[in-house]
Amino acid sequence: MTEHRDYVGAKMGMWLFLFTEILLFGGLFVLYSVTLGRYPTEFHEASKLLDVTMGTTNTVVLITSSLFAALSVAALQKGSRKTAELFIGLTMALACCFLVIKYFEWSHKIHAGIYPGGETLVQWEPGKQAFFSLYYTMTGLHGLHVIIGMGVFTWVWAMIRLERCTPDHFVALENAGLYWHLVDLIWIYLFPLYYLIT
């Protein structure tokens, strides 16, 4: 059997997979919108407690990393393997940066007792509790996707090293880039829904 290569097929498969990811988060967005409709004031109040500066910084960090991901694909297509590897490294560095900022945000809240079952949160009205339950669930799941994305980029980086992902057959890197854009895109929806609705 000859090795089967199908660029269009590989892209099609990736797009289908991205649809499933959107639907996975879609379930949570539905929960968010229903709960927001039920407790608009409480969501407004609770949203004030989030740190807009950190959220904004993270948005910029993630968008920039997405740019680097796109640049790495372009670099590989043009044949410069080294540049592609450099841009993958930068993407991963910014992904780490995103997670570190997220860690500070979360730990700050958790120290203040604002987490499900936490001593501060349990005394608040149900709407605020729902806000933070959804906040931790959705940003947590998104954070997990950031980690998975980093894993994917590590794998592609190794593939480039092993010359299994080359300027002629770059679809693995391109698909990793698509995945990273989706992770970025989901955050771009999460950011206003949680930080900016005050």
Binding site: M12, L16, L31, R38, P126, S133
Partner: protein, 535 residues
């Protein structure tokens, strides 16, 4: 001709390396088939245990807690591990590329990964029985709030369901790309087999609906482990939202179960009537219409949950609409048989059993879909009877029809046709004996899932249990016949049924690389004018 020819022939490496790490779609499909059959047998025994316990009112064999665990297990195993992957993962994997004239599916390694996820997911679900606080007792729907607070091992069981869902998504994704990209020259969309069309519609449901189930079960785990309270009204959540999310997947999942079976039946009936299928395009259209409309009817499971009256009426109407394409298919199958040259071979007997049992289940589906009558029979044995007619009588019979249709192709041997016929008839009688009394029980008000019941329900429960024994005898005979024939059946040629689809042009069993040269397709799958009597 022997059973170890073609793709079944050992390649000189260890069995584990050759089979568990295979990327050959036919071997992966066989692995699925064997696993599904093994789990099916476990599920059957659990079902028999339920029926035995219900033979008399009160305690017969097992206590209430065990009873709850047994029906939950029966549901989880049968739905998630057996019925959902049954036809697409087993027969789809083996025969879709052959029917397309392709070398393999689009992503062979992903295919192997799907199978591994299936194994791991199934194992995880099984592990949940023996660890933690005991087997889950929530029913296969995992409804909150009970699933969030019960001390049994729900988290591990739903983690298994999550992994199985991932496997299902990847199989669907693989099939969509395969059908789009790997059709042989000349194989236009209107020359696809109806089985391939059914798999295509199914694959879209798998890809679009399953992620919602994934997130729902993730939420149960989060709810249980971290106490998030997303479905807890005291903390701003809402348990009805759980039901919406659950059924947005699990209703379309019903069509993941039934559409491939309909595809099998659409492939079988023309072959045994020597007549092109009646209304090819309406069957294709109705498959796609079922996939689409079936995604809009989930809330008909929730008529008594406290939704608004408007929502109830809208979902009731949509439910009626989804019955139309199913009826179109039944009409087309019957029209194909009209004035056909009918050969009553075992696959056709199973197909006829499918049509009858599926119609029995489908018509009572309308009773449940109309809000007024649903209020009366909601959560009674009427529902149990309905979905077993559809799932066992429909998907189960579709699966059996597929096994009997493709068995000679898979093993190069023929089973005992007389025994296969007797088994089919026993199964049809047994299933009616098993499930028809449930309709009557439901109309009289016997609730589902109950461990105990009032004395006046005893005769019908006993009738149902007798039916389960007949069904068991039929299944045992069928399996015995198949297993024995795998080794001792009479060798058969490449095309014993004289069918016109591409897989029958290959030797039985097919070689590993499928086609020596890429076939060029010049006519539709149900054109028998050029079928040769070569063996």
């Amino acid at each position: 001709m022997n059973v170890d020819a073609g793709f079944m022939a050992p390649g000189g490496k260890s069995w584990i390396r050759e089979w568990l790490f295979t990327i050959d779609h036919k071997r992966i499909g066989m692995l699925y088939l064997w696993c599904i059959m093994a789990f099916f047998i476990v599920g059957v025994f659990l079902g028999l245990l339920i029926r035995m316990e219900l033979f008399w009112p009160g305690r017969d064999f097992i206590g209430p807690q065990t009873y709850n665990a047994v029906f939950t297990l029966h549901g989880v195993i049968m739905i998630f591990i057996v019925v959902i992957p049954s036809i697409p993962a087993a027969f789809g994997n083996i025969f879709l590329p052959l029917q397309l004239g392709a070398e393999d599916v689009a992503f062979p390694r992903l295919n192997m990964f799907s199978f591994w996820l299936y194994l791991i997911g199934g194992a995880t679900a099984l592990i949940s029985l023996f660890t933690g606080g005991g087997a889950p007792d929530t029913g296969w729907t995992f409804y909150v709030p009970f699933s969030a607070v019960t001390t049994t091992n729900v988290s591990v069981a739903v983690a298994g369901v999550f992994i199985l869902g991932f496997s299902s998504i990847l199989t669907g994704l693989n099939f969509i790309v395969t059908i789009h990209r790997l059709r042989a020259p000349g194989l236009s969309w209107t020359r696809l087999t109806l089985f391939a069309w059914a798999l295509y519609a199914t694959a879209w449901i798998q890809v679009l609906a399953t992620p919602i189930l994934s997130i729902t079960v993730v939420l149960i785990i989060i709810e249980r482990l971290l106490g998030m309270g997303i479905f807890d009204p005291a903390r701003g959540g809402d348990p009805i939202l759980y039901q919406h999310l659950f059924w947005i997947y699990s209703h379309p999942a019903v069509y993941i179960m039934i559409l491939p079976a309909m595809g099998v039946i659409s492939d079988i009936i023309p072959v045994f009537c020597r007549k092109s299928i009646f209304g090819y395009k309406t069957i294709v259209g109705s498959s796609l219409a079922i996939a689409f409309a079936g995604s809009l009817v989930w809330a008909h499971h929730m008529f008594v949950s406290g939704m608004s009256d408007t929502a109830v009426m809208v979902f009731s109407l949509l439910t009626f609409i989804v019955a139309v394409p199913s009826a179109i298919k039944v009409f087309n199958w019957l029209s194909t048989m009209y004035k056909g040259s009918i050969r009553l071979e075992p696959p056709l007997v199973y197909a006829l059993g499918f049509i009858f049992l599926f119609a029995m289940g489908g018509i009572t589906g309308l009773v449940l879909g109309s809000a007024g009558t649903d209020m009366h029979v909601h959560d009674t044995y009427f529902v149990v009877g309905h979905f077993h007619y559809v799932i066992f009588g429909g998907t189960g019979f579709g699966m059996f029809a597929a096994i009997h249709y493709w068995f000679p192709k898979m093993y190069g041997r023929m089973y005992n046709r007389k025994q296969a016929m007797i088994a089919a008839v026993l199964l049809i009688i047994g299933l009616n004996g098993l499930y028809f009394p449930m309709y009557l029980l439901g109309l009289q008000g016997m609730p589902r899932r109950y461990y105990d019941y009032l004395p006046q329900f005893t005769p019908l429960h006993q009738l149902s249990t007798y039916g389960s024994w007949i069904t068991f005898v039929g299944l045992a005979l069928m399996l015995w016949n198949l297993v024995r024939s795998r080794y001792k059946g009479a060798p058969c040629g490449r095309n014993p049924w004289k069918a016109a689809t591409l897989e029958w042009t290959l030797p039985s069993p097919p070689p590993t690389h499928n086609f020596d040269e890429v076939p060029v397709v010049t006519h539709g799958p149900y054109d028998y004018s050029e079928v040769r009597d070569d063996d």
